[in-house]
Symmetry: C2
Subunit: 653 residues, 2 copies
Amino acid sequence: MSSRTTVPFNRDSLEQILKRRFFYAPAFEIYGGVSGLYDYGPPGCALQANIVDTWRKHFILQEDMLEVDCTMLTPHEVLKTSGHVDKFADWMCRDLKTGEIFRADHLVEEVLEARLKGDKIARGKSAETEEEDADKKKRKKKVKEIKSVKLDDAVVAEYENVLAQIDGFSGKELGELMVKYDIKNPATDGPLEPPIEFNLMFETAIGPSGQLKGYLRPETAQGQFLNFSKLLEYNNEKMPFASASIGKSFRNEISPRAGLLRVREFLMAEIEHFVDPEDKSHSRFDEVRDIKLRFLPKEVQESGSNVVIEKTIGEAVDSGMVDNSTLGYFLARIYLFLLKIGVDSSRLRFRQHMSNEMAHYASDCWDAELQTSYGWIECVGCADRSAYDLSVHAARTNEKLIVREQLPEPVTVEKFEVEISKKKFGPKFRKNAGVVEKWLLSRTQCELEDFAAELAKNGKFNPKIDGVSEEIEITDELVKIEKVKRTEHIREFTPNVIEPSFGIGRIIYCIFEHQFWNRAGAEERGVLSLPPLVAPTKVLLVPLSSNQDLQPLVKKVSSYLRKEQIPFKVDDSSASIGKRYARNDELGTPFGITIDFDSVNDESVTLRERDSTKQVRGSIDDVVKAIKNITYNEGSWDKDTANLTPFESSSDA
Amino acid sequence: MSSRTTVPFNRDSLEQILKRRFFYAPAFEIYGGVSGLYDYGPPGCALQANIVDTWRKHFILQEDMLEVDCTMLTPHEVLKTSGHVDKFADWMCRDLKTGEIFRADHLVEEVLEARLKGDKIARGKSAETEEEDADKKKRKKKVKEIKSVKLDDAVVAEYENVLAQIDGFSGKELGELMVKYDIKNPATDGPLEPPIEFNLMFETAIGPSGQLKGYLRPETAQGQFLNFSKLLEYNNEKMPFASASIGKSFRNEISPRAGLLRVREFLMAEIEHFVDPEDKSHSRFDEVRDIKLRFLPKEVQESGSNVVIEKTIGEAVDSGMVDNSTLGYFLARIYLFLLKIGVDSSRLRFRQHMSNEMAHYASDCWDAELQTSYGWIECVGCADRSAYDLSVHAARTNEKLIVREQLPEPVTVEKFEVEISKKKFGPKFRKNAGVVEKWLLSRTQCELEDFAAELAKNGKFNPKIDGVSEEIEITDELVKIEKVKRTEHIREFTPNVIEPSFGIGRIIYCIFEHQFWNRAGAEERGVLSLPPLVAPTKVLLVPLSSNQDLQPLVKKVSSYLRKEQIPFKVDDSSASIGKRYARNDELGTPFGITIDFDSVNDESVTLRERDSTKQVRGSIDDVVKAIKNITYNEGSWDKDTANLTPFESSSDA
């Protein structure tokens, strides 16, 4: 159906259109803007709302997930426990003279890339194209000038090796690389301080005292974890189940770049699927088993290759490449979702994280990456967070975040148990009694075994207890620690969490790149081939002229469309039909309905398809029905317009 | 249809249900919670999503508004210009000894109320009921104890007078009241510092340097104003038009209270309707003209009364009580929206702000207030912000935020114009030349008239210019300022803004109170009569027993409901039908479908209506059709189930 040209993709031309049609724009632009902050205008906002709506139907409704809406403001203690206060950071280097701040890994990357380019020029291999050069300027690269300097072959190889691993270096390693390769402030050649950690969370104070430190959440996940017990109860204690949340998260990037791809405030859609760690199978896996995906597993990357392996998700799980069928199920569902909203499947791959790049909470992670002019971009993460989060919050708060499961038949277990002599315990430890008791009751089996041995040997032991400054001596008069046999009817466990996490803004940008093209024979005319399901507006309604006779029909068609809840716009401006359609091609509007003077006679209208510019003619009713089926009921142009009459017109370009 | 009891409303019983069914819960509860922050669980989240969806259809789609999604992070400069940095504050008093902080107006209010109660007790008039007392404790009132002390009649009258005006006092006045009435820390009787201003915005730093100060937005409006020119262009330069935005805003309350009614992070839905200041009429006003509303205009309040006036919005606008028909149109549309989502019209009034309580940007404001057990609550503000915001941002940024309108016929105007001699101007003022020129070109006509007079008299004048430290002398060699005649074809103006602004969380809480009741004859059974349109789940699907024979039909009905996109839940737990329905009455689920053994024979099912517990029986198809019509197509039980067979059952309570 499509007649797309082979004109090479031009990012500049896409960005001009996105700006002109106000899909998005830098926030606070009349104040000079703030980097990393963008506003969505009407078409961007509608596209985003449609993608979120599709996500909600595809994931939440299909799987009966429990959607929650938790606060963005989060107290310090929660994010301290989750590890974000200590570990959610990037490395930055300061130039003490100029006050400039660089993100260390990006700086090393840019400087080495620039040197490799300079080497290529010196070798006469290939100079940079003008277009690439323009790109650089737009991206505000720190390295403005490429110097033609030939490097040793060995140095070239070393640089290339560093660049391949650039996401995996620690701050110390980055500092060493900067020394080794003499990396300085590219603008002034001045010295830089060694990399220091910069926490990426926005900090604020909650309440008037200024003493309750808080952050804007870096992910929606923590709110879901903290509500685990309430959600389990809401779900009638049934496992497995998933919660989900759609909302903004925040990341105080050191130096945002690449437009919508790296921003400081972004919309996320996250699922936390809670499973039994001993059974991570998914009951609906067979529905997706035969779907073919493109994988880039960690072994391949570690061998220095980036050649994807194509196989079915069934094969991937069976072979153990993807750890379990729940993870596998979600990878396939993510794939189906992305295709539905306009991602080009040939530019989508699932890349497994290497162990040195995994987030602090993850035990395994596959990213859905989308290919763009900026390279491959992580758009959806699908991590196995194991029991990490529930465990740390439970330990910190002494709340049980567990599942209690009726065993099919009782089992007999032997285990160490603590029996406290309450009468003596209180008077002995006084104000510390509660803390000591809690501490004793939360020891592991191994610890209890040791204490039991000590009690047997010495009649006492002297533990060090957090929050108790006094010396504590526990004697066999105060406690008994013994191995006992119990018949258990209930199994208690902390669920593991499989987390598909979507960056909606990044996905939107990638769809723009995947669906933008220029019309053959009219290369200045850009088209955004957004799928009808997510297109901001579905129909452009155009009266051929501003003649009053056409107005009643415009109203009639409008009321039909409104009744069917199909978003549409009327364009009765004086511009030519061709111009009006061209404008809407840029807006990604998939259908046009033209009302002409024949329409006044027989109430027939013309329906135009954006990508092919094909036109058909029929009654208002039939045309609206076709639009509805194609847009919302997985119909197709060929099938759903078969009953309409092909129509030739010279009005379109 | 309803058989509601006259059992008095019991807030405690409502709150227990909302908590038990996880409509919402204190955020971070396992960490002890943070006051003023709440999470929405699955039913609350679905209710919120349905209300937002209804809002979007009722306002945005109906009026072709331009929806935008702007960032919450906002740089200091923007909110300095808008006036929020200086004026968005409450008054707080510190107890230097205990470190406690009180919100001054709330403290005065509570202390005087407590004294009035104590007076009543002393007079033996009426003691507080136990229930009211429990309420107090839940609300964490500062005044824990009511002392029985009789007051002079004159003092009682004075206190009552102060309480009636409590929203209008300045910090200084509150301080004077505290001295006059000897108001101290109620817990310790210790002295309090005089009230100081506390800005209610959450502050943070954007970027790694820590030097770009920012805030979390206190309203979504500013983002819409800053994008005004882009929106006007997107709208093909047509006026009037409205933008709209749905998103979270933040307010660092000094001491949050009253549950969802006063929180620190909340969902807002705001419309900015841009109109010509010389013509604030609305083209669709006639559609709403005859709707009757309940008004509480400022004159009535200022006379000390709170008796509402009921009249049509047409009469209200015609009489000038409501300033213009755009404001009137929105008041009526707000009314229709609130009714649609479950507000009780007899507990809704429109109260006009008195001049001493208006926000700093507003020239007139009507609040839709909803009555609850906490009193009348402002849920929707409808303010005329005049040209305030666009003017201050334009002045600060030197960007024109105006409309240029083709005049129907050219007009001749006489006005003062500045002509600058560029050649001499630059060399004379050097680095200041740009600032001085900009300053000159943005003077008002009055100022220019004065300067022209000075130039004529002295040949020079010496203005003081912001941002220029040097003495500036402007002579008649450098500029000419003269009255000239011009023929103008274009009229330029700054639009005024009418702003309907909705606090979604507050509305949700009020709907809970308006729609909660207890079943006659079974008072322990609470019912939430949420309208089907916004109810979290529309249908509860209950197989009569867990017998396997019923399962195929459960699947069949499920697939019918899924196909029609009707949110439903299956409850195949072993609880009795009555219990299962009782649970769903609490969740506000309007319909139940029961599958019994007769269903297996003839595929008929029973449909139950929540409020009346009426039941009817029919085919799956007919039952689903009835549900769909009542829920989404403004149908009614009587009309849409007329074709079904009345059904008697003993299963319901």
